[in-house]
């Protein structure tokens, strides 16, 4: 470690103001920050109450996503790792380009978006599409608004919905049959595999024609689906980690699940047969993954605590409606994006009600 520090100290002057490489300073400080924490101490108030900051925060989210990622590797093979590498590379190009132009530091935000992105894609998708989606998501979803913390929409979801609407046929036929046994698909690289390994019906598509996958398979995850979302157990495990670490707000998760289940029960009660059974709907597709990891994004979800309830209820309701009645079999992606769009309005309403209450009180 000490060797590394001396190396960093030695090369730092190369990037100083006025030197030919000075425009690359953000890249230098990114690597510097990734390896070392700052050793400066605060002299006067305010003092940090909690050692958490963006970097640790993002790192904890990635740890929580770990089970899903390992599950994806097991079920769908090494391919998921290539997808992750492509997604990181594409995201880093955009992120670093903007950091260099803006003369800002490279933010760690894209580490999470780049990690989540391959997990919400069909595992058999061509690698160039992963890059296209990631670049679109980071560019339009985040960088044009000023980067991490200033975006209006979830960048990974912007990228995914761009792919879903722009390349629907590729997206719909890129599922991989999951592996099983001790090694699963771990040793299989689907880039080279025979085309029959790729088939075309996820449990939600099959449910449209009345074939229900057993709940046990949905829980374990040996079903077709986006790379990281198939195994409900692993998603819940990761969800517990980020809830316990305080990364995700439990109100959002709880209200999404309650509203989704509640409206589903009501629908099944009043017109049986239109919607899938409640448990099947909750465990299949990206519902749990979205509820735990995507809807709880602290930047794009409402800021005020009370607004998180209507936000979650809206997402649950929309996900159910889109899944049941629209042409798309999976509603969570659009539901969360629409939730992001409504979030500032919910905040505004909450703040206005508060202001009125205060005005009355004093």
């Amino acid at each position: 470690m000490k060797l590394l520090r001396t190396f960093f100290d030695k090369i730092e002057p190369v990037f100083d103001e006025g030197k030919p490489l000075s425009s690359l300073h953000p890249i230098y400080s990114m690597f510097d920050n990734m390896m070392f924490l700052t050793d400066e101490k605060t002299r006067n108030a305010p003092f940090g109450r909690d050692p958490i900051e963006i970097k640790r925060y993002m790192f904890l989210v990635i740890i929580a996503l770990g089970p899903c990622f390992l599950g994806a590797l097991y079920f769908f093979g090494i391919r998921v790792l290539w997808m992750l590498i492509v997604s990181y590379a594409a995201g880093a190009v955009v992120e670093i380009a903007f950091a260099v132009i803006r003369k800002e530091e490279v933010n760690e935000g894209f580490l999470v978006s780049g990690f989540i992105f391959p997990l919400i894609l069909p595992p058999g998708i061509p690698l160039w599409l992963v890059a296209v989606g990631m670049i679109f998501g980071i560019l339009i979803g985040k960088e044009v608004f000023g980067g991490t913390g200033r975006n209006l929409f979830n960048p990974a979801l912007v990228g995914r919905s761009f792919l879903a609407l722009g390349y629907p046929s590729i997206m719909a036929t890129s599922w991989i049959t999951p592996g099983s046994g001790t090694l699963g698909n771990l040793l299989i690289n689907y880039q080279l595999a025979a085309p029959e390994a790729i088939s075309a019906a996820t449990p939600l598509v099959q449910a449209k024609s009345g074939i229900m996958s057993p709940l046990k398979d949905l829980l374990i995850g040996n079903i077709l689906g986006s790379a990281g979302e198939t195994s409900a157990i692993l998603v819940i495990l990761g969800g517990i980690i980020i809830l316990a670490a305080g990364m995700a707000n439990w109100r959002t998760v709880l209200s999404i699940i309650l509203s989704f289940a509640g409206f589903n029960l009501l629908l099944n009660l009043f017109s049986p047969g239109t919607a899938n059974p409640v448990l099947f709907n909750m465990l299949s597709g990206g519902f749990l993954f979205g509820a735990f990891f995507m809807a709880t994004d602290p930047v794009t979800s409402p800021v005020t605590i009370s607004a998180k309830w209507p936000y979650g209820i809206l997402i649950g309701l929309l996900a159910l409606l889109i899944r049941t009645f629209s042409g798309f079999v999976e509603g969570m992606m659009f539901a969360i994006l629409l939730g992001n769009i409504f979030a500032p309005l919910f905040d505004e309403v909450v703040i206005r009600i508060r202001m009125k209450r205060y005005a009355k009180k004093y």
Partner: protein, 195 residues
Amino acid sequence: MNSTSLMVIFVGSIFTNNILFASFLVMCSFLVCSNKIDTAIGLGSAVTFVMVTTTAINYLVYHYILLPLGLEFLSYIIFIAIIAAFVQFVEMFVERFSPDLYYALGIFLPLITVNCAILGVSLFMVLRNYNFLQSTVFGLGGGLGWALAIMLMAGLREKMGYSNVPKPLKGAAIIMLVTGVLAMSFMGFSGMISM
């Protein structure tokens, strides 16, 4: 005669076939007047009111005057004239009875005359063969849908006050980009209701 149920028309014109996100009508006042939530609410309700009433009047005029006389080709001019006259009437009415609202809306009130969504809704009504009740509900839904769109945009723009938008994209350009993402998200409703 079109047999779509009233509920379907109402929900459909607000969400699935939102006049702004599906047809991209009225971008002009959507871009200009969406910087504050209060303005958005005021303009949204004014547009809704004008849309409901003019659609109803236009229906009666089209089916009881233009059609019997064989003058359907005049419908564009007649519709525009009726909308303009009605907006004038609303303006005088608002000025007389609620001066506050009148000054809050300012120039946007007369500008509703050239709001293409209002003409658009009247033309869609003819195109889709709606009956009187369906047309009125369609006008109400279309107006509410537009009001919802501009309020959502105003909320996002207030949140964007914290954003650091690159210089070339400042102003209308970034609003167009955001509208694109909004339209992309509203695509999720497609296929849900056919109108």
